[in-house]
Assembly symmetry: C2
Homo-oligomer: 291 residues x 2
């Protein structure tokens, strides 16, 4: 067993660590400058040679989730260990007593939508874009044995939206992009209209930088794309609207492998079924690890 | 997708079903005659040809668990689907408002210890031996496509104790037996002394039929045995005492592969690391499925 998690000073605290599949599954907390709150994330680091730097997959979770859901139910460790992939799962919003919230499951805590809020009372802490795009990568790069030239990003539902929009806004940063049941166009669904309207205000032009389809329409491109979507997903027609992305990719020539999976729903039973395909797909694009 | 879960009458109710790895992960409830309460269990049934009957693995959970822990965190479905194994996970005790309980985590609800209680106030509902040994197998045989001539049993911690003792008391029923971090001799540890004393009374002779080491000392044998035990398990020295089983198997010539795993703890991060080894081990002994 090799554990090379160096914690410099007290910037981030290792809350727990469990040996699993020969690697270490850790949970870390740290004080975030972006959100002004403590933030928690999990990191799986496969066994590796001392000094090696491994490719990293960022996994963004969906509504109501924290880092814990995919960490417990995602079934990613076996293949990450085999392929030599570090797997990072952040939280979905700021947390804590002083953080504004909403009674609904789809707004407020657990529903940060990976945006930088501009509206009161959200803008003080709901700065999840800056946190995921800038602060967390810097922190992880400084503390874990990641090769930041080999990054992939994925996510589920609201986190699929996050993965697609972050990749589209940061061309060249991610060699591989995939998503499970993503919200492909928040501008065009009730979850998205509520969240973007609440966090960003009524000016819908400001929403387009947080909408994968709008970003593609406005000229952004991905290197390639893998999407899995269950056909028995209760949210497919009303919220996810995969066909909008499929049609747009065809129209503009964006390479994409968007797979509709008969009988599968929106749950981790679906995600864990196809996570191996996604991890292999990322690993192929991220190149061999140094293990 | 083929789902062949036939529910005759209203004997058992399908609470949920999710397609996963091509098979169905279901949760069922039914009124138990043994416990006098509703009981819940989960069942994963791989995709299979109509009319086929598949080998079945019984997984007994540990203290504080319900059917849900292994169902969510066990990472067994991928390989069960591939090997054609049905995987059944029962609850660890009777539940409900009218069921006697104790404030401790290691006695009462969630801690049935797979015994038939003889003492008040436990004996009315805490009849987990009869439930797991007789009632649940009959129910499952009548409703799911299991081949009852090809049964394997395993479990974790208290459930490892359950798996070993049930297999030892029922020679010939299980072609394959394994355990993760089992309590190998409840007679010789605080968890076991509390539970067996509480459920069965002070006469320690009555405890021996619920103690794997005592059963082996008294002449019972297993066809073979696979055990994995983490060396960083906090409960190893005080409660699990794996060495008692290792030494006894050597002494009496009981075939056993008892593996000490450096760095691993008592959690599902450990179980999920080695579940593939156990499933392959069972599948080899249960023979080819009819898929």
């Amino acid at each position: 067993m090799r554990v090379h998690v160096r914690l410099k000073g007290s910037i981030m605290e290792q809350v727990s660590v469990n040996l699993s599949h020969g690697g270490t599954q850790s949970v870390f907390t740290h004080q975030s400058e972006a959100t002004g709150t403590p933030m928690t994330f999990s990191a799986f680091v496969p066994a590796h040679e001392r000094g090696a730097r491994l490719p990293v997959i960022w996994y963004l979770s969906g509504l109501t989730c924290s880092h814990a859901n995919v960490t417990e139910k995602g079934e990613f460790r076996r293949l990450c260990a085999q392929l030599g992939l570090i797997f990072i799962a952040p939280d979905t919003s700021p947390r804590g007593d002083g953080v504004a919230d909403d009674d609904a499951y789809d707004f407020g805590k657990g529903a940060g939508f990976y945006v930088d809020a501009t509206q009161e009372p959200w803008r003080r802490h709901y700065q999840m874009r800056r946190y995921i795009e800038n602060e967390l990568p810097d922190l992880v790069a400084g503390h874990l044995p990641v090769d930041m030239d080999r990054q992939g990003i994925t996510g589920h539902s609201m986190g699929g939206h996050g993965a697609l929009t972050i990749a589209l806004r940061n061309p060249g940063r991610f060699r591989s992009v995939s998503a499970f049941s993503p919200i492909v166009s928040p501008i065009h669904c009730p979850w998205g209209e509520k969240a973007l309207g609440g966090y960003l205000g009524a000016d819908r032009d400001a929403w387009r930088t947080y909408d994968a389809c709008a970003l593609i329409e406005d000229g952004a491109r991905l290197p390639d794309l893998l999407v899995d979507q269950g056909e028995a997903d209760n949210f497919l027609e009303s919220q996810l609207k995969t066909h909008l992305l499929t049609e747009l990719c065809e129209k503009v020539g964006q390479p994409a492998n968007i797979r509709m999976q008969p009988g599968y729903d929106h749950s981790y039973y679906f995600i864990s079924t196809f996570v191996d395909d996604h991890l292999r797909w990322h690993a192929e694009r991220l190149g061999k690890s140094a293990r």
